[in-house]
Symmetry: none
DNA sequence: AACTAAACGAGACGGTACGTCTCGTCTTGAT
DNA sequence: ATCAAGACGAGACGTACCGTCTCGTTTAGTT
């Protein structure tokens, strides 16, 4: 975002505190107002910053909210709960907990909606949020392989495709359950979902149409 | 929507043509402008209608777009393709095709985003879109039972829960694949997804936490 | 339930009560809202009449208010107070009293303002209000002549011109005092004004530019 | 003695050119459209200014038009024409000439009409127009006293009352002649009016009820 | 210590859309 | 034919934000 006086630039450097204040104020405003009533003028006031300062750093509301929301998902972790099923349940519950927070709900879905018409924004979301969090799927698989629950994958392309499918199924189901069906993604639901997912993956190990059976 | 001069019949009745013109204009504007740049004034002009007429029938942009988008999903059908798996693949592909249309993409996600802060809107979405389309899951199950692919369910509550889970998994995965991951939900992907889903459901028939193991 | 079809007219006859109700409602609305906030829809509601009925009888707000206000000035009388000066003072005080009423203030000045751009309206005002009330000047002069305070006029054109001048000076001064200077046209002021007016008329009997000097 | 953003100096200063452009555009719109069809949006467009800029400076149509019209009367002067009577005739003719202009006619009467229900507006008119132009009466009297045509006044309160009466009579008669009677205030009429006024003032020098006769 | 130049707060600017209001007309069924 | 009721197309209202543009004021790094 900001370049720390890249090549011996003259002039006053940008305030490092401003960025944090602005992102925090954005999340706070998302909680109180939601996406559509959030205004950049209001964010600037909350952050104790002039509108000019805000526009110097972000191109608009979309970009600002992507950055503000992306930070939220960095708190996801994959604690070792002893089995692949338990690990997955754990991270799905964490994910559901984040989506239960109003700043995540409003912000994430709104920028996704905007991204349907803005390729640059979609790419920003993919890079900042989706790809960034695939680390969790990779870590989970590696741990399961270390435990012997999963065999090492032979085909890299095939493995990547499976990661994508898992990610779409996990994230998609939780988002849909939470935001569209408007039902809580509680432990019972997560348990049932995880069983179906794992059973399906175990029984259908080659989701590319080339399997024998 | 329509009130056939319910109790007091005085006064000029509302134009039935206006409703259709407005909803059509809304979809057209969604295609050309997307949610955030869609304005009700513009919709009114496209529909050849005054802004007042529009506000007399819908409370705002959100309600209008929900109704305009909900109609899109009524074109989903469940043609008999011979097997449960083929039937599911068929309807998932249809669903993906609708989500590939810009009016559905922009409109649906935007109202879902708005609904995160508006309970009335969320309920409207649930009733007009989600519950309305569960008919597909029910019809698919009934047909599979008639074929003998599935046993008749014994526990009604359990059955309803399974319907919800299937709906969240199908709709969620397709939406996520299409809108967030921004990859096409093509035949290959749908094939892989369907196999995992059906295998999982077959292998884990009681997703309610009451199983023995 | 009589059917007095005036001249063999078919159909339902116009309600005679409606006219009075509408003019009364107009004056009431002028009192409460003033000219600029008076709406014909509101007048119709107050009169218990449909907007259609109102528009069938008057072309618009201006015409309606002229008629509603014109009636107010018909209550002006010229009681015999024994002398020309006293008669004038009497009628000026009555005029000031009418102008102190809010429906007259708002309504009269507003239609005059509108009339600056509408010749038909100006003519309507002149005929319904101005010419109609010159009767007072004429009656006052006749009474003064009967008393011997004024000689009978010889030149009709000259006499008409004097009537106009008196009317402009009286009405103009009272209106300006009341509405622009916003001071009360009380007895003291009327007394001073009347003395100046009468003294001037007595000392300058030929206001037509034909005098010697 | 600088007036550079006098108290709070922060922020971009208001454009001085905008005020002049707006007032000019207002007068132009009054000429073309009249009061009732004048819209602030149209004024803004004519002035090449955003509506917000206009609303930032004036509370509404009334206030704007008062200011736009008030400037018109600043062109009144009192050239020395040799005698009190001639001086008065001169300024009355100038006044009539201004009232013959459509922007003055429409604007002045309309704001006076509005002022009948708005004390703040009436005060603004009194201060910006009435009191401001009493300078002419004062200057005329001073010049007449210097010439010996009038004695120096002894009683200040009495003198002020006379100034008010003269102003109401002059302004009132000209306005009524021009706008209500809708006859031209031409030289002949002004000559006759002035004679009556001056004769009356000369013959009745104490318009307060304390004179001897 | 003085200079320099970008970043800063404040807020005015030209725009655009909002949701409401009133206009004057039109359409209904009832009188 | 007229009425009460109320929907209709039209368009102005005054407000709220947008993103940009001056302003005069810090403030860190370079001379």
């Amino acid at each position: 975002m900001q370049s720390r006086t890249p090549a011996g630039r003259a002039g006053r450097p940008r305030s490092a505190a401003a960025d944090a204040a602005i992102l925090g104020a954005t999340r706070q405003a998302l909680v109180e107002l939601g996406w559509s009533k959030l205004t950049l003028g209001d964010v600037a006031v909350r952050a104790g910053v002039a509108k000019t300062t805000l526009y110097r750093r972000w191109a608009g509301k979309n970009e600002l909210v992507v950055d503000a929301v992306a930070e939220l998902f960095d708190e996801l972790t994959l604690p070792d709960r002893g089995s692949l099923a338990a690990d997955i349940e754990g991270v799905v519950l964490q994910f559901a907990a984040i989506l239960a927070r109003p700043e995540a709900r409003s912000g994430l879905m709104a920028v996704v909606a905007e991204a349907t018409r803005d390729d640059a924004l979609r790419e920003r979301i993919r890079a900042s949020i989706v790809e960034r969090q695939k680390r969790l799927v990779l870590a989970g698989r590696a741990r399961a392989q270390a435990r012997g629950e999963l065999p090492p994958e032979a085909d890299a392309r095939q493995a990547a495709r499976t990661v994508d499918l898992i990610f779409d199924m996990v994230a998609g189901a939780v988002v849909h359950r939470t935001l569209v069906s408007a039902e809580p993604a509680d432990e019972e639901w997560v348990h049932g979902f995880t069983r179906v997912l794992l059973s399906g993956l175990a029984a259908a190990p080659a989701p590319d149409g080339t399997e024998t059976s």
